[in-house]
Amino acid sequence: MVGVAGISWTPARQGAFRRAANHGPRRVTASPIKGGTLPLLDVVDDETLLARVAQADQDAFEAIYTRYSAAAYSLAMGMLRDAVRAQEVTQEVFLAIWRGARDFDPTRGRARTWILSVAHHKSVDAVRRSRTPTVPLSETLTSDTDVIEAAQARVDAGRVRQALQSLSFEQRAAIVLAYYGGYTQQEIAQRLGVPLGTIKTRIRDGLARLRSALPAPAPETAS
């Protein structure tokens, strides 16, 4: 034992050293695959890949990148409308996945959701940093309709657009401005001149409705 300023510190016994090299830090997520090269990276599920990324497996990380880089980049491009900044955001997203994979717990949610949430969060941060939101909320837009049309004009994908159509106009407005516009609930309430509680309700009800309107997502494929 080594005493350091009153701190007791007990080194492992001789022999523990070799075991140490195999153990590494304790894992937060459990991986069904032990050691070695992960076979068939293109068919294993996202959860397994993330568990491997948590152990600093660069091949698994590359596989995650192959699956999700287009999703992350498209979202950033749509929200930022700037290829250089969208690339920066995409890089932030994947570095966050690399360093944060240990925080993902497969018993608490899906890997796809976690990854896309990281991607969205980084894009929102970038939009807010830029102070030039891409969805115009200028004072010249005099009605809810204008605001929503402007926001929705950027939403292209048929399936998402269709799902949004299943919402009430007010719900759609709040969800689109929040998710694609990167606005806070407070900002949306101010700009639309509606009480904050009302916006919260619209977002809550709208998101609940989206949950039932959207079919199960297709797995990500390589870009």
Binding site: A12, Q58, L75
Partner: protein
Amino acid sequence: MTHGEMRESLAGYALHALADDEARELEAHLDTCEECREELALLQDAAASLAPGFVREGPPEALRDRIRDAVRAPAVVPLRDPARARRVGSPDLQTRRPQPGRTGLLALAVAAALIIVVAGFAVSLEQRFATLRAQVGTERQALAVLADPSSRVVTLSGSAAGNVRFVFDPAKRRGVLVATGLRDPGPDFVYQLWLVAGAAPESVGVFRPAPGAPVIVPVGADFPRYQAVAVSVERGPNGAPRPSAAPVLVARLGPD
């Protein structure tokens, strides 16, 4: 906020549409409320379904190489959070909002250089880092710790040369190790950071020094539980479950 009010904010949280302070408050609530965690998981699934809303296009192939290079940089090692790891097998919060990103190496370098310059002037840190945070925007977790006026700074000392400080906020359970000038431990070794409670050091993670750049190691933990923070040299790449030798650097975390 009450549980009911927290619950009403979950959808906004899933859309990343809460103000920062609201989000933090909700995260604290999520730590203790399984009902809200379960509801949030469903709402986050719904939010994720909005992600493919724009025209799908892939980034240029060069980006893959850039990211690959960044990941292989020595200072970017996935790190574990001892507070989380202790809860393995028990309900956890890990599907909630991703941790604030540890991204932007340049921003990190700037932040780390600044903390080394100004550590000890905690009173003025808030203002300095409010400005810095606006400029860099990215390394929010580290910056938040560095900027918080309630954060404390200790300097690690021992047999290893280097400028190594640990900044931590006991109330918010966040900390950051900032190291510069450490010698390369050799190709087969890494530095391993430990939190010491009694005679049982707990591994936080491993890191290697980056030439010319500070290394930043974010740490989330219940700091009052620990008496010290320490660094040892261990076999790479993953380090050891228990320290194999005496620490090369140590600092007490006890009260002032």
